[in-house]
Symmetry: C2
Subunit: 194 residues, 2 copies
């Protein structure tokens, strides 16, 4: 029973996700989500209270996906230096694909939706936390030399944010790996103990 219900919900979220990805929150209509789900519009309201609620579910799912991918990506690695590299690489490449989550983080227009604030704050905290752990680990193992791992984490997050625009929107295909290496190396030579 519950399983059925949740499955139906999950299906709707999946479908809505695709439509939101293409048309964004505003331009996507309940009618479209419904007919793509082979349901009447009212049926969608049986599962969700509002369009906003669906969007929230979509965004949260994307955020979850990113988090999982980051975790499983770095958990396979032992060396903190490599971990940091992989973290940055995955985060930049994956975030680019999570359009709904990304616009949830960035769009001016969405700021008035209440849950957006939470998402943003949570994500920021999460990200700093994860990187702090990696750095702290690096310090413990004598690989990184920084005063305050938290501050370094914030710096790295800031750097990544700055890179989003050129990476996501530049017209020429960006040679991501190359550039990424440059940047990571640059960061590291201020960080790595010699």
């Amino acid at each position: 029973m519950l399983a059925q219900h949740d499955e139906a919900k999950a299906k709707i979220i999946d479908i809505a996700r695709k439509i939101f990805s293409h048309f964004g929150f505003k331009k996507t209509t309940m009618e479209e989500i419904a007919s793509a789900s082979r349901k009447g519009k009212s049926s969608i309201y049986y599962y969700f209270n509002s369009k906003e609620e669906i969007f929230k579910a979509v965004v949260e799912k994307e955020a979850e996906e990113l988090k999982e991918e980051l975790h499983s990506g770095i958990s396979e690695i032992d060396d903190p230096i490599e971990q940091l590299k992989v973290y940055i690489s995955i985060r930049m490449q994956k975030l680019k694909k999570l359009t709904n989550f990304y616009t949830a983080l960035k769009s001016e227009y969405l700021t008035n939706l209440e849950f957006i604030e939470d998402i943003r704050k949570n994500y920021d905290d999460d990200e700093v936390r994860m990187i702090t752990i990696i750095i702290q680990d690096g310090i413990d193992r004598g690989k990184f030399a920084v005063e305050d791992p938290y501050l370094s984490a914030v710096a790295i997050v800031t750097a990544m944010k700055g890179l989003e625009v050129p990476f996501f929107f530049s017209k020429e295909p960006v040679y991501f790996e190359d550039r990424l290496n440059d940047i990571v190396n640059f960061l590291f030579y201020g960080i790595i103990k010699r």
Copy 2:
């Protein structure tokens, strides 16, 4: 004066084209076209009488583009067999990119716009006409053996239409050139004089 005016119009058409390409006719708003053009909405109405008129201009421009590309593509070639191959190849690849023109040709939803009918009819006629000429030329030079070049042209156009869906919408990257060659060859062995 006129030059200025037409230039401004052309710029609007270009910008509108991009937006229409992404969001389609219905979901594109005049406000968006305007602000992307760095103008007020009313200013757009100074140049065009309606959204429909802009869309029409966009579609016509795309149709023009296709026509030109086809003409210049085959005009460089002498051999009718090659001409036909190139025609089919260009038409399939280019049409895929001309989203507005393509949806103008196909979309159920747009059928109620008056000018759409004209566009469709014109395009169909045009296409059959161009291919008929190529085939006729092939017959004259003793390369093709068909009773009625017009009927063959219609057949080829029909075949191309049938190929649109698999080519345009298939998820795996279609190895266009390979497939195209197969199909063209298939057509030809019913056509070419031996």
